[in-house]
Subunit: 153 residues, 2 copies
């Protein structure tokens, strides 16, 4: 399973192209090579899934019941913004206009590796999100990940 990490800032040119960070490229599994699905995230950012991970998401989605109102609403709204992308020969992604609009990305995009997916943020929105995260929150999440090694849980 790929595990993306790190934060990388790249400029977006006037054609909507961004370089895909080299270090994240190295974390891609062979099957996923070059193919992604990009969609609107829950936070004001975009989610970028490599092909293999996206298949797992679709797997989950296929279990959603289409005959319930909630099920249909979830599927429709989750998938409607999604687009398949591939890297060009210079390892760039070209961001669809409507997704740039949704996420507020204009001339700079920030990639954040977040385990099995990559988040793509505009600098402004990311800064806002940071301001809402207190020092206590940070300590708490550290403990969640690193804490409790000694007591078998």
């Amino acid at each position: 399973m790929p595990s993306f990490k790190g934060e990388y800032e790249h400029s977006v040119d006037n054609k909507g192209r961004v370089a895909f960070p080299a270090k994240l490229r190295k974390a891609l599994s062979a099957e996923a090579q070059e193919s992604f699905t990009l969609l609107r995230g829950l936070e004001p950012c975009l989610y970028l899934y490599p092909l293999d991970e996206w298949e797992r998401v679709e797997e989950r989605l296929s279990q959603v019941n289409s005959f319930s109102r909630k099920g249909r609403t979830v599927k429709r709204n989750f998938l409607r913004s999604a687009e398949d992308l591939t890297l060009d020969k210079q390892n760039r992604l070209s961001l669809p206009a409507h997704l740039m609009q949704l996420s507020g990305i204009r001339d700079t995009a920030i990639f954040i590796g977040s385990g099995e997916l990559i988040e793509v943020w505009s600098p402004e929105k990311l800064e806002e999100a940071d301001e809402n995260l207190s020092r206590d929150d940070y300590e708490e999440l550290f403990e969640m990940v690193l804490g409790g090694n000694e007591h078998g849980d």
Copy 2:
């Protein structure tokens, strides 16, 4: 399991490279050889994990649910600052600019072996941390952690 100890001060050159202390290198397990993950620590310092220890951290992270808001916040903010590093042929690490910035490291880095991970400090921040810890506090901590196991006191 590797167990790092000791304190080592090294200079950082103008390319952001630091020698990895020879004695710590000897404490690395064979599998971890040369590969590390470096990330922001809770104190104003960096945490350096050898590959094998980092895998245990990832194991924990993979159990965090990405479909919940909290889960994503944890992953994003924890992994954000993390980067994989390897030693160059001269046994040096080259510190990413944003991590030097975060930790206040400029031309000197201090490595502190701390069990399964290594902390990396700037001299200034480390001194501050020392000043905030009085001798009494230290004794108290010491007893809290180590006291009362074997010898009833």
